[in-house]
Amino acid sequence: MRPPDERRRTFEQVYEACHDPVLGYVLRRADNAHDAADILAETFLTAWRRLEDMPRGDAARPWLYGIARRVLANHYRGVRRRLVLTERLRAELAASYRPVEHDDDLTAVAAAFRALSDDDRELLSLVGWESLDPGQIATALGCSRNAVRVRLHRARRRFARELEARAVGGPTVRARVAKGEHA
């Protein structure tokens, strides 16, 4: 185990760099701001306890997503760890959190996305929302890079099929994506 000061410094650096990315990850997947506060806190608490396992450098972020993913899964299975400290975090997140509004065509895209399995959705959103490459996804999911490539390929194919089934992909969507923040 590292000396206490070095432990703190390591954690502080990662916390500083990854607080917002992890919060983003959680907010995009949690049902509401209150859950998001608990999940964020528990993710970093787990990271603190498992600091010795944390990969160095840029790999820390996907590793944290992997923890957040398990915390989320536990949370919705009913394992809720609650830090009372998150009351203020809850209030702050609740104040700025707003559910997204979809237009009709986006809703069809959303429906196609929702029709996928949890695993497929997670893979595709790690690319689309967190901008991870296959190597980083391998860190987050704890599997090999090759396995990620294969699964990603299949997930994209299934998503394409769901889109076709809903006849999505017309000019409206294209226009919207072109001016969107992620295009």
Binding site: D38, L40, L45, R77, V79, E92, S96, G128, F159, V177
Partner: protein, 297 residues
């Protein structure tokens, strides 16, 4: 058509939006809280079958805690009970109908001793008690365990900001992992809380004493009437990227405004203050309305 872009457009929250959501103070408060959590090697695994453990915990005025263990088959207390010990127990295990009742006799004992006594009953459970503000005392402030451990909700028994009120945990039959449970206990006079609720929550020092939006001078006069003191003041400068300070009364002009308050120690609160008159808005306002519901107008 790039499918990744389509999926991007489904993200409910962008990174840009996330950037300003959490204040500097809350951010560093969470980090500090996390880093004050002890890091210990996981205790050795121990196997035991046939128990469903429920842990409704009651911290009475004297600060005692009770752990109730629900047995599914027969009386779990008799076979394989704890070995006889010469030293006085910090937990007592006894059967009561279908329950094995475990009481924390000494809430201030060395936490390692709770673990030993749980272990003597074949349970790999680490119990820690931390000083907590009144509405949090007697609830689980943190539980860390394997899959399948559920919180027992004590709805109506405490105020937890809309979430459930976790008064214990339920461990499934066949659970072989390890768990650690942290309960809030009553604080000793002058002892600083580790775990708190809002100071305005039912049971807390300032419930129904809404001093938000008042000047520091005005708020302190009200606090005196309620025999509550404010040894520390919190303020932030420079917005979300700025600095946060915890200072004494001498550093704060009496004309500043109180935005909120946190329990600090028994009979003491930390006041959150700022130069300008605060505005209340959105969900935060709803949160405070819930805290104050039932208060006389």
């Amino acid at each position: 058509m790039n499918h990744d872009d389509l999926i991007s457009s489904l993200a409910t929250t962008t990174d840009e939006e996330v950037a300003g959501m959490v204040s500097t103070r809350t951010r560093s408060e969470l980090a500090e809280h996390i880093m004050s959590t002890p890091v210990e090697p996981a205790p050795a695994r121990r196997r035991r079958r046939g128990l469903v453990i429920g842990v409704p915990l009651v911290v009475a005025a004297a600060g005692t805690a009770a752990v109730v263990v629900a047995a599914t088959t027969g009386s779990p207390a008799s076979p394989g009970g704890p070995p006889l010990r010469a030293e006085p127990a910090v937990l007592t295990f006894s059967t009561q109908g279908k329950y094995l009742v475990v009481k924390v006799k000494d809430p201030l004992a060395d936490p390692a001793r709770y673990r030993k006594e749980f272990a003597a009953h074949g349970m790999n459970i680490r119990l820690t008690l931390v000083p907590a503000s009144p509405s949090v005392a007697g609830t689980v402030v943190e539980a860390d365990g394997g899959d399948g451990i559920q919180m027992i909700s004590g709805k109506g028994k405490c105020f937890s900001g809309g979430g459930s009120c976790p008064v214990g945990v339920r461990i499934p039959i066949g659970f072989h992992g390890s768990a650690s449970i942290t309960f809030g206990r009553a604080a000793r006079p002058g002892e600083q809380y580790t775990s708190t609720n809002s100071a305005f929550a039912p049971g807390e020092a300032l419930h129904c004493v809404d001093i938000r939006g008042r000047t520091v001078d005005d708020a302190l006069a009200t606090l005196r009437r309620h025999k509550v003191s404010a040894p520390i003041f919190h303020y932030e400068e420079g917005g979300n990227g700025g600095q946060a300070y915890n200072v004494g009364r001498d550093k704060i002009p009496g004309t500043w405004y109180v935005t909120t308050a946190d329990p600090w120690a028994p009979g003491q609160v930390m006041l959150w203050v700022q130069r300008t008159r605060p505005e209340s808005h959105g969900d935060a306002a709803a949160y405070y309305r819930r805290l104050m519901s039932g208060c006389p107008r």
